[in-house]
Symmetry: C2
Subunit: 268 residues, 2 copies
Amino acid sequence: LLSTRILTAVIAMPLFLGILYYGGIALWLLVSLLGSIGFWEFGRMWRAKGVEIDLAVGISACLALFAWAHFIPPGHRFSAPVLGTLVTLTILLTLVRQVARFRDRSVTDALIGLAGIFYVGWLLSHILLIRALESGLWWLAVAFFCTWAADTGAYFAGRAFGRRKLAPQVSPGKTWEGFAGGSLLAVITGALLAPYGTGIGPVWGAGLGLLISLVSVAGDLAESSLKRHCGVKDSGAILPGHGGVLDRFDSSLFVLPVVYYIAYWLYM
Amino acid sequence: LLSTRILTAVIAMPLFLGILYYGGIALWLLVSLLGSIGFWEFGRMWRAKGVEIDLAVGISACLALFAWAHFIPPGHRFSAPVLGTLVTLTILLTLVRQVARFRDRSVTDALIGLAGIFYVGWLLSHILLIRALESGLWWLAVAFFCTWAADTGAYFAGRAFGRRKLAPQVSPGKTWEGFAGGSLLAVITGALLAPYGTGIGPVWGAGLGLLISLVSVAGDLAESSLKRHCGVKDSGAILPGHGGVLDRFDSSLFVLPVVYYIAYWLYM
């Protein structure tokens, strides 16, 4: 399994980084693809628990959010009204469809689906929002490399020193020692990487690395608790050895927006 | 009961219309109050079904949305980024709190709470967004008077001619004949009222009245299905004879955003 995991990473990683670098339509299409698969996985997980998610409305709404983020990002005159129109249409469509097919548990299903649009579509759209910023590529690099550093550091530090459980009910494999090791590696990565292109110095870069480590663990635990709640092991199987899109991007879903708003409010 | 209902309306209606007319801080405070009670009612309904809604995050998020709508409405340079920051913080806080108090059904509870913020807070914030528009007071008048006309017309036409059930599973009292009567009264109200201040003529006003009648029934049915799903009769008892805030504003929650985006995109 570990070798499949490494092999997939060796193929997928350069592709992913290349498209991040290239940006533009290619990145928009990639995010649209990942988001659609991610929302489909969200629906599949809940189906295991007997909850029917409305995939038609959900995936359409995610795609609309990605189109908004790419073509009408903040700064554009119509950004807020278009976003508002999209969000409102999503809410009304979800509820109208729910009324039309009213069954005993359809209201719960509809509201979980609505929340899933924000969890998958809204959070993931921040890849595109960051990329559209000046020096956005560097902020994306900091976000992804610090997240991967935190993940990798936690894996090895946890294996070597792991003792005290971090969140035994949600994710039994995680330890405080692993978290400390991951944070250390993320801090180093942030301190080294941030000064190159983001305009913040090594000390602030280290702080950002620490914040990313914290937020990435929160994102990981949020997705783990979702899986545990639904009684599934992986969100999907799109990437051999890595599970599904939501498994691979669980931390990023939390890290990307946090990095985006820090970058935005620093350099507005 | 009918006389209590009329008495409450005679007292509350002029107060409500006076604050709509006055606008400003008074309206912002009123919407903040109604929204907080509305979200509390949302939580109370779900509690009847064993779902624990996070009231601290939910009411804070609603209040933040109302503050955004009043102080940083679309057109303001920071409208989209502030809205994005609020929505993101709401999602992350909801999920982090959910992980912190993980229990078997906490994920479902958290996602329903998140959806409730959009249902109550986001939709209701459009009172403030409409009021901030040029001739917004007139658009609000059209929205509320057509909604009340549709409601009143449906009541009397339903009593007089009601035969065929509209949505027996969700709201057994509603009939197609009532809907037709309500639509007729809303069309007349729209045709008479819209030309005074909105800048659209009587024919378009009639069309808007028809649309409002349709959307208001959808909003009513959405809230009815929510109550039926949770097994409660009224959302609350804040207004004697009228039930709770969500009972009173169920149609408006759908009508206000639709009227806002029509007005906005017509006169941007």
